[in-house]
């Protein structure tokens, strides 16, 4: 049982004291309340030390109360759900939460790697570029492993993420980032005007700084105004409020990325629900009301646990009723910091002193000080005495040179505010400098986007409300919504007077980038070594590259660089702002596209039948295809495939070839069109005939092949390879719509309309006779080789029958409407039983095509010409076609090109492998005699040995030559004979018979 919450106030705050929650940090039990973050709960339990820094492993506490936190990073959850580098400041507390500190060993309090601090004089920015070079081998063996182990922060789970993610689209007129006063006012104005509004808030509750700093709006306390406003927005059906949702990026055309943490506030997502959801929001206008981030001042010891941003201090005290320190010192250079005094005193805590870097403070502040018994020191903090357990004493350099000391257990720091210029700058916009607030503000934004309120550099509550309201109204108006927006909420503006102070010179490490341990002297060193450009500075020192993306460090870093290089801050400039605004889980970007659902799956019409037969499937693009059909007792795939080939060659078999691309080419100019896309002629193809066609790319290289049949005067049925189906359709549409718009031709994909089966083997006709209506003439005269026409089948349905052969056998392809595909497979089995019909898969198909010397994917490599493939004669010289001219370039007709030949091993028992190279016999392999490679191989049952195809220089002139197949990567070397690529039935008698 967790103990009492030592640092929790008895009243106040937005936590639910009736809902206690138990949690563990580094194995120790604590309790907090519903409404806490992990950070606020740790504060409430008096925990000061929460993490270790990246390089020096210095002890660190909580610095902020938001997503800009550089220090308080933990491993959240355990096991497969362990999530490294989670900001304790944004992790909502839930019952049973487990978190562990990271980047320390063996424990947070006693971290061995903190020895690095001893080497700090050497471990300056970029020290590693100057050493670890000798001897060269030591880098991978010694230095790098040590560096890698020391670097990194938390540990990833190391096993598959068990949670689900999804992605969704949303559309609106006005998208609003942030629900502080500016964002809410924008939502009110846009919503009342009738616009469709989406408001994204990264916190789990609306209000932004109102939740911490309060104020009076329209005469109401901020909390009451919030309730009223939320009710009004909730009543608008076209206003969508999305909490726990961070707008992280803006992309082209008004597309925004947002991450919704749907169930991160629970131990795990409920069944059927996702952990997080990625939103693609399409918005016509966007109001960035993302507020501003308070910035630290760089001074020695500023990383001591207990040093905290002043606004964060107010948030912990005001919103969470959690006490970071009981005796607080404030170091500020601006009026806003003083609000911390009021919040602290109101909670009954002590103010030790206010150290104000400005020359003077107002009489009101002076009287506040005297009334509450604290001193106001004019000067700067020059050192912090403290350690793992927090701040003890603060050294102050007073204006004029004297020194003072303040005893306090916490130091609140306010260096002013930086508007959140990320979103407005992601299209490589560069923000502009504003002297009055000493900060960068947006200067332009991606189309449709505007910043309002603090995000625009106007920090007063009144200004936030009025600017937000005006921006919301304007956005609604721009998108055609002219409803009555009413009047803007009204509030006073607080004073904001600031004297810039970036860095207090002094002894001791003064941190600019807390997480990456970049100090002020590192920046000075970078300048000294010529890394003056802010981008060089960032890359050399790693400033701003930590998980907080430089939110607390960048501006201070470049201000120091400006000072040491004698330039102004705007001259020094900013680095490029990069999305995402806060780090986003990779799983969310993937959504459900992982595991089996990574990509869609296409199933052939006979898929489920094949699965029933026990087929082994192979992925071919998106398709699952039956690769072979193993039978009981077969010891390996080769035995199954050999049986299938033998069955086809000796009897009859069938194979689902529906994956081929199938395109209806209609229109009076269909023939003329095909003449332009194929190298051979199709306009003269007779109706009822099929022809093999070859397409080139415009650069003269072979693109695709297939048979195309003429079914009517104005109707061709074109087929493509499986791999290129979609691309060929796109290419043909390009030809139709862009290149040859004068032709009257229409294209439709019918790939999914037809279930197509190849039926092959000497008994094909016998089998077909069983299935085709007896009135159809299937004789060689009635249905000769390369005939194609529609036929009736027994049982009344119609099919398309094509007398074409990939296997070299007597063969047909038959097409039926796809929903009959499964019935077709069953009927072929039924009708073919008497002939021993055998279903075969893609492997047997491949074996038979190699035996027949047909080209396929491995030969259609995107680098071969028609002539390389032995098809040069098909190129018509009587017409223009795509690729004709470029195919004639000298290097593409050179005599020494690698061309397709057959190969067979001289040792008949030798197995061949694709990818082996061809070297002349007797020569030592080298780049000068690497003459080609093996493209396709198979065990040929017909030849009773392995055979293959290869691309070989001068191949066709070398038939009969014995060459060397060189396969060093598989440790094989053997002799093969170059031969005619048509191993089977070279004169084609079988397929024509």
């Amino acid at each position: 049982m967790a103990g009492v919450q030592t640092n929790r106030l008895d009243s106040g705050g937005l936590i639910d004291r009736s809902a206690p929650l138990n949690f563990r940090f580094d194995g120790k039990s604590f309790s907090g309340f519903q409404g806490d973050t992990l950070a606020s709960a740790l504060v409430a339990n008096g925990v000061k030390l929460v993490g270790r820094s990246f390089k020096y492993h210095r002890p660190r506490g909580i610095l902020t109360a938001g997503s800009e936190e550089p220090n308080a990073l933990v491993e959240l959850r355990t096991g497969a759900r362990r999530e490294p580098n989670t900001k304790a400041t944004t992790a909502e507390l839930y019952e049973g939460l487990e978190a562990a500190s990271q980047n320390r060993w063996p424990s947070l309090r006693h971290d061995v790697m903190s020895v690095n601090q001893l080497f700090a004089p050497i471990f300056v920015a970029g020290f590693y570029y100057k050493t670890f070079m000798w001897p060269a081998k030591f880098w991978e063996a010694i230095y790098e492993p040590a560096i890698r182990r020391a670097a990194g922060l938390g540990r990833a789970a190391g096993v598959a993420d068990p949670d689900h993610y999804d992605k969704a689209w949303a559309h609106c007129d006005v998208l609003i980032a942030g629900s502080g006063p500016a964002g809410l006012a924008a939502a009110l104005a846009a919503g009342r005007s009738g616009a469709r509004v989406i408001l994204c808030e990264e916190d789990f509750t609306l209000g932004g700084r109102l939740l911490s700093d309060g104020g009076m709006i329209d005469g109401l306390p901020a909390a009451e105004w919030l309730v009223r406003t939320q009710a009004e927005l909730a009543a608008m059906p076209d206003v969508r409020i999305m909490t726990r949702t961070t707008l992280f990026g803006v992309y082209d055309g008004g597309t925004y990325g947002a991450l919704e943490r749907v169930n991160d506030h629970l131990p795990s997502a409920p069944e059927h629900q996702v952990r997080q959801r990625l939103w693609r929001v399409v918005a016509k206008r966007c109001v960035v009301a993302a507020g501003a981030l308070e910035r630290p001042i760089v001074f020695a010891g500023n990383d001591t646990p207990g040093v905290m941003m002043a606004s964060a201090m107010r948030t912990y005290v005001g919103r969470y009723a959690a006490v970071p320190a009981k005796r607080v010192a404030l170091f500020t250079n601006n009026e806003d910091g003083w609000r911390t005094v009021e919040t602290t005193l109101a909670a009954g805590l002590q103010i030790a002193a206010v150290i104000d870097a400005r020359p003077d403070v107002s009489p009101a502040h002076r009287s506040l000080a005297s009334k509450n018994g604290f001193t106001v020191l004019h000067g700067s903090v020059s050192g912090v005495d403290g350690g793992k357990d927090g701040v003890r004493k603060i050294a102050v350099s007073l204006t004029g040179g004297a020194r003072a000391e303040v005893e306090a257990d916490g130091l609140a720091v306010s260096g002013g505010w930086n508007p959140a210029v990320g979103l407005t700058s992601y299209h490589r916009g560069r923000p502009k400098w504003r002297d009055d607030i000493a900060a960068f503000v947006p200067d332009g934004a991606p189309p449709g986007m505007v910043a309002a309120g603090a995000a625009n550099g106007d920090f007063g509550l009144g200004a936030c409300l009025s600017q937000g309201f005006a921006a919301g109204a304007a956005a609604a108006h721009d998108t055609g919504h002219g409803g009555e927006a009413g009047t803007a909420p009204v509030a006073d503006d607080e004073a904001f007077a600031l004297t810039p102070l970036w860095h207090v010179a002094g002894k001791g490490k003064a941190f600019v980038d807390y997480q990456h341990d970049v100090t002020a002297s590192d920046i000075e060193l970078a300048q000294r070594e010529g890394f003056e450009s802010v981008e060089h500075l960032k890359r050399y020192t790693t400033l701003g590259m930590a998980t907080d993306q430089g939110k607390t460090s960048n501006v201070a870093g470049l201000a120091i660089m400006a000072a040491v290089s004698g330039r102004s801050i705007p001259e020094t400039g900013t680095t490029i702002y990069r999305p995402p605004y806060v780090p986003v889980a990779i799983g969310a970007f993937a959504g459900h596209h992982r595991d089996e659902t990574f990509h869609a799956t296409r199933l052939t019409p006979s898929h489920h039948w094949a699965a029933e037969q026990g087929a082994v499937f192979v992925d071919t693009g998106l398709w699952k295809r039956a690769q072979w059909y193993p039978r009981a007792g077969e010891k390996d795939w080769l035995e199954s495939v050999t049986r299938e080939v033998t069955a086809v060659r000796g009897g009859v078999g069938f194979c689902d070839v529906s994956t081929l691309g199938k395109i209806d080419v209609h229109g009076p100019d269909a023939g003329a069109f095909l003449d332009r896309v194929y190298i051979n002629t199709f306009s003269n193809l007779a109706v009822g005939k099929a022809r093999y066609g070859l397409m080139l790319r415009e650069d003269g290289i072979v693109y695709d092949d297939g048979t195309t049949s003429r079914l009517a005067e104005d109707h061709y049925f074109l087929t493509t390879t499986t791999a290129k189906a979609g691309l060929v359709m796109q290419h043909l549409e390009f030809c139709r719509q862009v290149l040859f718009p004068e032709l009257d031709v229409q294209l439709t994909s019918v790939s999914d309309q037809w279930a197509q089966f190849s039926i092959a083997g000497p008994k094909t006709r016998d089998l077909l006779k069983e299935i085709v209506d007896p009135a159809e003439d299937l004789s060689n005269e009635g249905f000769p080789f390369m005939a194609a026409r529609e036929v009736a089948l027994r049982g009344g349905i119609r099919a398309r029958l094509f007398r074409i052969s990939f296997s070299g056998e007597m063969a047909f392809e038959i097409s039926v409407p796809a929903r009959y595909g499964e019935a077709m497979a069953r009927n072929l089995m039924l009708a073919g039983k008497q002939f021993g019909v055998t279903p075969y898969g893609t492997e047997a198909l491949g074996v038979m095509r190699v035996e027949k010397g047909h080209i396929a994917g491995p030969e259609l490599s995107g680098t071969t010409t028609a002539a390389d493939l032995g098809l040069g004669k098909m190129m018509s010289t009587k017409k223009d076609f795509i690729g004709r001219v470029m195919a004639g370039r000298e290097a593409l007709v050179a005599p020494d090109r690698q061309v397709v030949v057959g190969i067979r091993p001289t040792d008949r028992a030798r197995r061949l492998r694709s990818g082996a190279h061809i070297i002349p016999k007797g020569q030592t392999p080298g780049p000068g005699n690497d003459q080609g490679y093996v493209t396709s191989v198979c065990f040929s049952p017909t030849s009773d040995q392995w055979i293959g195809l290869a691309l070989v220089e001068h191949g066709r002139e070398r038939i009969g030559e014995i060459v060397h197949a060189h396969d060093p990567i598989r440790g094989e070397d053997y002799d093969v004979e170059l031969c005619n690529p048509v191993f089977y039935d070279p004169d084609g008698g079988r397929q024509r018979g």
Binding site: R196, H272, L603, W623, T748, Q753, G796, I797, A818, R819
Partner: protein, 206 residues
Amino acid sequence: MAEFSWDIRSPLERALVSGAYGAPGDAGVALTEIRNFDLVQVMARRGKAAEMSKAAKGRFDVAAPETPKVARTADATLIWSGPDQFFVLSKGGKHGIGALGQAFAQSASLSDQSHARVLISVSGTKARAMLAKLSSIDLHPDVFAIGAAAATSMDHTSVTLWRSADRDGLAVFSVLVFATFAESLWHTMLDSAAEYGLAINHSEDL
């Protein structure tokens, strides 16, 4: 001589299990596969868009949609599928490929797609929320009204989507997806809708 049966099988025959799925309680999404329909792609020939429209008007007594919309008659739905082309969706062969040839002989090319697509109807209180996970287009009632259609993609898969007449005051979306992708998209739909609870069915009624 063997007797053949030419059983027609939907590509979703095995994947579709009628009944409830996902989160218990009232189903937020109803998915219904519509089976056994005729679908013909009608594409105007070059320069013949007007003639095709005229032929369509003559045949169906409604104008074929020239923008992304659907036009309904008592026994057919004409669905825009691209510039100068549309689908004719019907039942029972009256407007199948065989029946339409004559009407469009001079003006259009026809292609039978009856087996190339699967038709899924999506409805329920959470239909839009579920479709927002699959479709990048805006389905807000003011933007995608009854009769609106789109040639678009869902989860990288090409579909034709349109909004049919409301049922019980709720929007009904119809999705035509390529047959060989159907089982895959179906599973994605189930995943997307599981958190809302599903009622799954199939029907012969268009």
